[in-house]
Subunit: 151 residues, 2 copies
DNA sequence: GTCCATGCAAATGATTTGCAGTATC
DNA sequence: GATACTGCAAATCATTTGCATGGAC
């Protein structure tokens, strides 16, 4: 499912919400940066280029709205900022899971698509009766460019 | 390696730091709560029972110190508080890895010991050249008591 | 006695909120 | 025209920091 302006508008209307320039622009900035992890401040700066009057509070409020509509995801790299990225394909319940690889030398963040955790999650269910429905995985290490080696 | 008061003192001295009642008490509170995830405020309240004059700032400073000495670990459950727990066995480089299972119904947090991520990490190295040295894994779902079922 | 450590109060800084004006439908 | 949305400024709140006093060695 491709999320055009029209689909975005329909999603808002379906929830009794109004389409505004500010909301559209915030959504478009995130849509045009897949895989980037933008802070609220960064989104604010991007939108301001097209719409100088937008306020930071509106950006924060729009982010909350997009999160509630499941259109975006958040990540916390524990550096004092919450970051946001456009959601992966949500056409059905199974999300495209991706993990974040964080290089401890250059701070670069890579994404890694994977479903290897299925086995771990089955294992957890068998041993503890806890049924996993979602996960957040951050892997810290050294990237290829910085000379990563397996032990 | 068992961390007694003496070993703690030696570790401090080795780094040119002084042993104080406050530091010992903060360390003891964390030591006596393995598997619990305490906020700075909670640690502060616990220590205050034995030592009413301690200041919250001292607790925060001691936490930083214990983190730098690798005696404790931190977790962020994204609820506005950073939480701390006594470190697992650090006698050699290989840490005891444990993941956190967070029940979305009752908010309970379980720990799960595991090294199944080794396979995932090998996979990542082969595909991307990124070598993982550490990870933080949070698994969200429903616990046994709350009626967890596999899909 | 020398520094390091502490307690207090004030500062910080990302995010949230109140409110009066503005835009959408 | 009603009501939801916005921008601004002020509030929030966990954590940090400055500074003068106190304690460890």
């Amino acid at each position: 499912m491709v999320f055009t302006k029209e689909v975005f508008e329909k999603t808002l209307k379906a929830n009794g919400m109004k389409l505004t320039n500010q909301r559209l622009l915030v959504y478009q900035v995130l849509s045009s940066c897949p895989g980037k992890h933008l802070t609220a401040e960064e989104i604010y700066e991007c939108v301001k280029a097209d719409y100088p009057d937008i306020g930071l509070a509106t950006v924060y409020r729009t982010i909350q709205l997009l999160l509630e509509l499941n259109l975006i995801d958040w990540v916390n790299f524990d550096d004092g900022f919450i970051r946001y990225e456009i959601g992966s394909d949500l056409s059905n319940d199974q999300k495209h899971h991706h993990h974040h690889l964080i290089c401890q030398k250059c701070q670069k963040v890579l994404s890694f698509e994977d479903d290897l955790l299925d086995e771990l999650e089955k294992n957890i269910y068998q041993k503890t009766g806890f049924s996993v429905v979602n996960h957040k995985v951050k892997l810290y290490g050294i990237c290829k460019e910085c000379g990563g080696k397996l032990n």
